[in-house]
Symmetry: C2
Subunit: 342 residues, 2 copies
DNA sequence: AACAATTATGTAATCGATTACACGAAAATA
DNA sequence: TATTTTCGTGTAATCGATTACATAATTGTT
């Protein structure tokens, strides 16, 4: 029962052609009103459902868009995806998810796979920008498939991006720490080949400069986005001749690790030491000692990326609009860095 | 440049037929070795990529599978999806994500949309089981598309599911609280029309019974999975004649709210009051007062659901294997309920 | 009434790949 | 050498929908 019903079945039943059925269902104005009604009624009664695959083959558009992220089980990326899905669903697009696990090879595979699957666009957060081999990206562009970067982007001509102002995020946070009286501010930096981390670092540096605080190379520690990494980094910092009195971490997880380590050493937060993170992961506000962090409005970022995609799709192929959307970061000041009062 | 290369282009170049090209590329044994090599080499040199849409139309299989969850930006669901994606990717399947936001209507829409998109299977966590209208589900089954429930399931003949033993989760947690000396254990329950919440409740009840503790209806509070809901529930509980001395919450977020409220009232945890949650959300172990919680092994659940799907797809259509996989919950005992020592 | 203009529908190609069937050529057998 | 197998390839239909073009049916015009 319930074998697939096609427009040919409807046509046969009504003694007309599949072409007429197709036109009737697509509101082609050349169809007699009575025929249209009859076809629509019959289609409904036969429980007809358009075969999207046939449509896709004919039109060359799959109505699927691909999203590539390092991993999906992080609040930030999951929220971005949520935003994308919510924005694109009403337009009839389905979202296909791929993860890179920070592997450039996986990223390339995913790109090729998505193109093979004939997606109508690719929204992604880049995994690795050091590689000089951009074949996979070029392949996407050559195929004229809209490509949009979010959060972690890469400079490629004709590619739009939606990011936050990481420089400003770093600047604001550092300035806040300075305002709280900290004068020896360390920085946990992520992989500086990624712009987001580079910019957070630069914002940090600029804030120091603007407030007459000397930049100290030793205070910058490369750190993975993990609790353990934060602990180890604190250990390292406290061995310095002049240990710092604050940390601006580009990762909430590392910030958490730092706090745990400082507590174990009975260093009082925020009195003796202030800590601020980045990303506004849910746990930062849940802690008893809530953690100051920079919100990246992931939901908004996802929606924005989706909107940029919608603008680019359907545009004349020849014109390449390169759009750079930069969202404002929002510093959430919490207990881990509030000496004044809370 | 780089116009789509088809097997016809290759055929033309080599002065053979598209059929031969197709067979050569598909390792059909009837093709002369020399021809095969030539075709493969030429295909590579022309940068040929198989059009998956054409293949999908011909074969009726899209190589996409749909995943429906209430929301993606929750650690649990995101992790399940991660598991699904990792397990299915090597088999050439792409994962399409849909969210219901706990709306039955959205759930139905998603089901129809995925079927329209010709997915090869649907893995989902049910949103609402109260509804008697199963048209959307029946539509899936009629179309012979494998349907697999994970976590939140629903009894439908021929539908497999992967869940955890929620009863046992509830039982273990409650027993643990009893072992810690609690005798008045309250329960934050989710929507009991969902089996997961029903079973956690039943496990809780059974543990009380088995340990000679009277079940008190007043101690069971229906609670949304939100921090605020937990606070309100505590407020309510403390007004009882005999307030409880412990809470087993079916939500980590509500458990967190409870802890916050108890702290505000200067009730000491775990000495005066023990709290345990459910889901093992990342924040539960990050808190200074870490929260006892039940782990649902979401990654494993996702992988398992994917494996069940792989078993069912390609099976003779007539045989309906109904597989019920039940994973073991794992209680993570933490500070919020550890009176003994930690 | 004869012809033009309009409207509705049919015919057939197309999207790109797969595959049952047919057929010619080469190899094996008698 | 004649005949049967085997092998390799070509022919053409198919998946389901869309659409340019052709044609039939209807209406309008003089």
């Amino acid at each position: 029962m319930s074998e697939k019903v096609t427009i040919y079945d409807i046509a046969e039943k009504l003694n007309i052609t599949a072409a007429t059925v197709s036109r009737a269902l697509n509101n082609n104005p050349k169809i007699k009103e009575s025929t249209r009604e009859l076809v629509i009624k019959t289609a409904a009664s036969m429980n007809y459902k358009q075969n999207k695959l046939a449509l896709a083959l004919k039109s060359g558009r799959s109505n699927n868009i691909g999203v590539i992220v390092p991993r999906i089980d992080s609040n930030f990326f999951a929220s971005v995806i949520r935003g994308i899905e919510e924005e694109l669903q009403p337009h009839g697009y389905q979202v296909i998810i791929c993860q890179t696990h920070e592997s450039k090879q996986r990223e390339n595979e995913n790109l090729y796979t998505l193109i093979d699957a004939q997606v109508d666009g690719i929204l992604m957060s880049v995994t690795d920008v050091t590689s000089e081999n951009d074949d996979a990206f070029n392949n996407v562009l050559q195929k004229n498939v809209p490509l949009i970067f979010f959060d972690r982007s890469k400079h490629i001509d004709g590619v739009s991006s939606v990011t936050i102002n990481d420089f400003r995020g770093g600047y604001l946070t550092t300035k806040h720490l300075i305002n709280e009286g900290c004068r020896h501010i360390a920085h946990f930096s992520g992989d500086q080949s990624l712009e987001i981390f580079k910019n957070r670092f630069l914002g940090y540096k600029q804030a120091l400069l603007d407030h007459g605080i000397e930049f100290n190379e030793e205070y910058v520690i490369p750190v993975k986005s993990m609790v353990e990494a934060g602990k180890a980094a604190v250990d390292k910092l406290l061995q310095l001749e002049t240990p710092p009195d604050a940390i601006f971490s580009s990762s909430d997880f590392a910030a958490l690790g730092a706090i745990q380590e400082l507590k174990e050493r009975n260093i009082s937060i925020p009195n003796e030491f202030c800590v601020a993170g980045f990303s506004n992961e849910p746990f930062t506000k849940f802690m008893e000692l809530s953690i100051t962090s920079v919100d990246q409005s992931p939901l908004e970022m996802g929606k924005m990326a989706a909107r940029v995609f919608l603008e680019q799709v359907d545009k004349t192929d020849t014109i390449k609009i390169e759009k750079k959307v930069v969202l404002a970061p929002e510093l959430h000041i919490r207990k881990s860095s509030s000496r004044t009062n809370f």
